[in-house]
């Protein structure tokens, strides 16, 4: 579904990721782990077309999307949930969802406002509230719901657990697991391994902008030294 080859990029001349290569099969999910500053956010932003890649290639469903504008990448079937959530704070919850509305690649419409509210009853209760008044967890649910309204086949999630209480993270894990079983592929960047493993089997660990480890969670559990070296202090 997604093939990333030797992706290199960064901001304003500053290198942030170097030679990143990984791929994702159909309906597969992958976790991108690493300490902050490792290049997870840059990788996702570059995939989404928010940063121009310096070199390397990105293929989605067999077509090259390298260097395309973010709206075209969205229309190709990729949904994006950014790290800071970036919900439209002056809009109501429902309006945020409407702003994300678009048919999927083949004109399919699987997601409606009602279905998103079914997945996240927490925000359904606040449908008319201004999004700026939502709590951290509600904002994250809204950002995910808004991305789902575009009927994506692949969802990019950038550190969804950041700043959230454990029970809320748990709740998000349930929802993401449900999306997985629905057949939506997920690429999740996380520092919270517990959440990441509920969503994905395979993982890539980045360290200072490069791929430092590639494998799956059972492999990682069997080798705590790697985890401490790449993720701990």
């Amino acid at each position: 579904m997604l093939d990333v080859k030797s992706l290199t990029g960064g901001y304003a001349g500053a290198l942030a990721i170097e030679d990143i290569t990984f791929s994702l099969g159909a309906s597969e999910s992958l976790a991108l782990l690493g300490r902050n500053g490792a290049g997870k956010t840059t990788t996702l932003k570059t995939l989404m077309g928010l940063l121009a890649p310096w070199s390397g290639g990105i293929e989605f469903k067999g077509a090259a999307i390298t260097g395309q504008s973010s709206d075209r990448i969205a229309h190709a079937g990729i949904g994006y949930v950014p790290e800071e959530r970036r919900i439209f704070e002056s809009l109501s919850v429902t309006e945020n969802l409407v702003a994300g509305e678009k048919p999927g690649r083949s004109g399919r419409i699987d997601w409606t406002v009602e279905r998103v509210f079914g997945l996240f009853p927490e925000i359904a209760r606040r449908s008319a509230a201004q999004a700026g008044t939502l709590s951290g967890g509600e904002r994250q649910m809204l950002a995910i719901g808004r991305a789902l309204m575009g009927n994506p086949e692949l969802l990019l999630l950038d550190e969804p657990s950041e700043g959230l209480a454990p029970v809320v993270v748990n709740r998000l894990g349930d929802a993401l697991a449900a999306l997985r079983s629905d057949g939506i592929a997920i690429l999740i960047s996380e520092q919270n391994r517990n959440l990441a493993r509920r969503v994905a089997e395979n993982l890539v660990i980045l360290e200072t902008g490069r791929v430092a480890y590639r494998g799956n969670f059972s492999g990682l559990d069997g080798d705590p030294a790697i985890a401490t070296r790449l993720l701990g202090v």
């Binding site: 077309g49 969205a74 702003a99």
Partner: protein
């Protein structure tokens, strides 16, 4: 009591068209981040087009058709010019819309001629109603209703349609919206159409109240800028409240002292900016784009000093070999080169945009003229007073300006200049109004063509040299540091606010000296010196010469004067100027010096 109610209703009626223009301006800014200086021109076009249509189809069809036509014109403007400038520095976006003002102005002159055109009154609404015994035109009540209906309509669009939701989302976070799959281009086009149509509607509805005239564009845009700055850029409700405030200030201010209405609007803006720098309902911008391109100065390397000495030598010898026409023209060029050099200092080195620099030029000219007229004292003191008066004016404008940046600064300076211009026209006791002030002649010793030429040469070359040295020296480096990377500059200990303020005052002082020299050169002062076209001339000289070349203002003023001398007799000289401005913004942002320097660099690379 009844009288005050009537006056209040008149104010509300005036607020309607002001609101229509300001709302469109604000919506366009919110989505595209472009301040459309040509928005007043769209209002004017609305009035003219409505007049023409009404001659065939009558009033009630003319109004909506004019609004739609103006919407289409706005859409075309976006497609042809502005869509190419979304990634450009703010200065070029502003300058391009300014060029459109000039083009539309001459287009209207060509199509409708120079005379004001009074349209028909609205059939069915020609009478008056008595409210508390006072007559109130039915049409005024209709306008109030339209203003409220449009506000309601915009509210409906913003909350009940997907397009409106997208506009609000884009105003908040355009990049995120694009990542959700919304193509910015289409959103921008529709936004421009709607914003322009609102301005066109405002203009069309003015038909029974005032004739369509070629002055409508700049008058309304200056007021609309005040309104959006007070209301907060991007906020429609803010625009509505501010339009009410300004219209009521006008309606009641005129009862107390007619002249005060001009100052009142500006004072209201000043108060709001001190309390809430982003306007009543505005929000601070999240990202601050660069006002001008960040570039090294294009110097003449080691040849600068030689070139300067050679130029002064030629200018010294000139009166000995040339006829008096050439001497007078050259004297004028030097005055304008000084004016442009001041603006260049502030914009190029400081990154501070002024679209109303004529304010300081005019302050200098009027200060000199009023002093000579009222005291009968000589030119020498007047030529000290001229830059001093401009410096005071610049210090006041600059005090607000350093709180603002980029587009706000451009709007503030334009509004300030427009208000001073109105004062020049209306405050007859002091300025003589349109008749100006006559008989402002140089002192005996400087009165001949050649003598005054040498005086001009001495003062202008000293002024320009001082500006160049300031730009190239410590002050200029620290100012430029604040332009290039404000946070970095502050973290190195540079008080950038104070330095920017000083830059504005220096720039205004140079303009004031130029204005004083100009007054004695012509022997008279008219409100033209304060008018927008004078600001535009200075701006064109700076951009034409090259924003980043120290010699740019001299080059720009010379080329401009020669062009003006040969082309200004053409009827549509302003449109040519406008086209040139748009052309510079689109194709040659470096001006003459920048283009030559880019060409030289290219050649050097080829040969290397």
């Amino acid at each position: 009591m009844g009288f005050y109610v009537a006056q209040f209703l008149t104010g509300l009626a005036s607020a309607s068209s002001l609101f229509l223009v300001a709302a469109g301006l604000s919506i366009i800014f919110g989505v595209t981040r472009i301040v459309n200086f040509a928005h007043g021109s769209l209002f004017m076009l609305g009035a003219f087009i409505a007049y023409s249509i009404s001659q065939k189809l009558g009033f009630w069809l003319a109004v909506p058709l004019a609004a739609l036509s103006v919407g289409a014109i706005g859409w075309a403007m976006e497609r042809t010019v502005l869509s190419r400038l979304y990634a450009a520095p703010e200065l070029f976006q502003l300058v391009a819309t300014f060029g459109l003002v000039l083009i539309i102005q001459d287009a209207a002159l060509w199509i409708w001629g120079p005379t004001d055109l009074l349209g028909p009154r609205a059939p069915g609404l020609t009478g008056v109603v008595r409210i508390l015994g006072q007559p109130v035109p039915e049409y005024d009540l209709f306008l109030i209703a339209v203003g409220l209906m449009v506000l309601g309509g915009i509210w409906w669009m913003f909350t009940r349609t997907r397009f409106g939701i997208l506009v609000r989302a884009a105003t908040e976070d355009r990049e995120m919206l694009q990542a959700l799959g919304v193509r910015p281009a289409r959103l921008f086009q529709v936004t421009f159409f709607i914003g322009a149509a609102l301005a066109g509607l405002g203009g069309a509805l003015e038909m029974p109240r005032q004739p369509a005239s070629l002055l409508m564009d700049l008058n309304i845009i200056a007021e609309a800028f005040v309104v959006v700055v007070i209301g907060g850029m991007g906020s429609v409700v803010g625009a509505f409240l501010a339009a009410l405030l300004i219209a009521q200030l006008n309606a009641f201010g005129i009862l107390i002292l007619p002249e005060i209405t001009l100052v009142a609007a500006f004072a209201a803006m000043a108060v709001v900016l001190i309390i809430r720098p982003y306007g009543l309902l505005g929000k601070p911008a999240t990202t601050q784009p660069h006002a001008v391109e960040i570039q090294p100065p294009q110097t003449l390397a080691g040849y600068g000093r030689i070139a300067a000495i050679a130029l002064v030598a030629v200018l010294v010898v000139l009166p000995l070999v040339a006829d008096s026409f050439v001497v007078v023209l050259t004297g004028d060029i030097m005055i304008f080169a000084l004016f442009a050099a001041g603006l260049h200092f502030m914009m190029g080195t400081g990154g501070l945009i002024s679209f109303g620099h004529a304010a300081f030029f005019g302050l200098g000219a009027y200060a000199a003229a009023i002093f000579v007229r009222d005291t009968g004292a000589g030119m020498e003191i007047a030529l000290i007073l001229a830059p001093a008066a401009a410096a005071v004016g610049a210090a006041i404008v600059g005090w607000f300006a350093i709180r603002l940046s980029g587009v706000y600064l451009a709007m503030l300076t334009l509004a300030a200049a427009q208000i001073l211009w109105s004062a020049g026209v209306q405050w007859q006791d002091v300025t003589g109004g349109d008749d100006g002030i006559l008989g402002i002649w140089p002192a005996q010793w400087a009165s001949g063509t050649t003598a005054y030429y040498y005086l001009t040469l001495a003062l202008a070359s000293t002024g320009i040299a001082a500006l160049m040295m300031a730009a190239g020296g410590r002050f200029g480096h620290l100012l430029r540091a604040g332009r290039d990377a404000p946070a970095r500059a502050q973290a190195l200990g540079i008080d950038i606010d104070r330095r920017r303020w000083a830059a504005i005052v220096i720039s205004g002082t140079a303009a004031g000296l130029a204005g004083g020299l100009f007054a004695f050169s012509k022997g008279s002062v008219f409100p033209d010196v304060l008018a927008i076209p004078n600001s535009v001339d200075a701006l064109v000289m700076v951009l034409l010469g090259g924003l980043h070349a120290p010699a740019g203002p001299i080059l720009g003023a010379s080329v401009f004067a020669l062009l003006e001398d040969s082309l200004s007799r053409l009827s549509y000289w302003r449109a040519l100027l406008g086209a040139a401005v748009v052309g510079i913004a689109l194709f040659a942002p470096g001006g003459i010096a920048g283009t030559i320097s880019a060409w030289l660099t290219g050649r050097r690379k080829e040969t290397a």
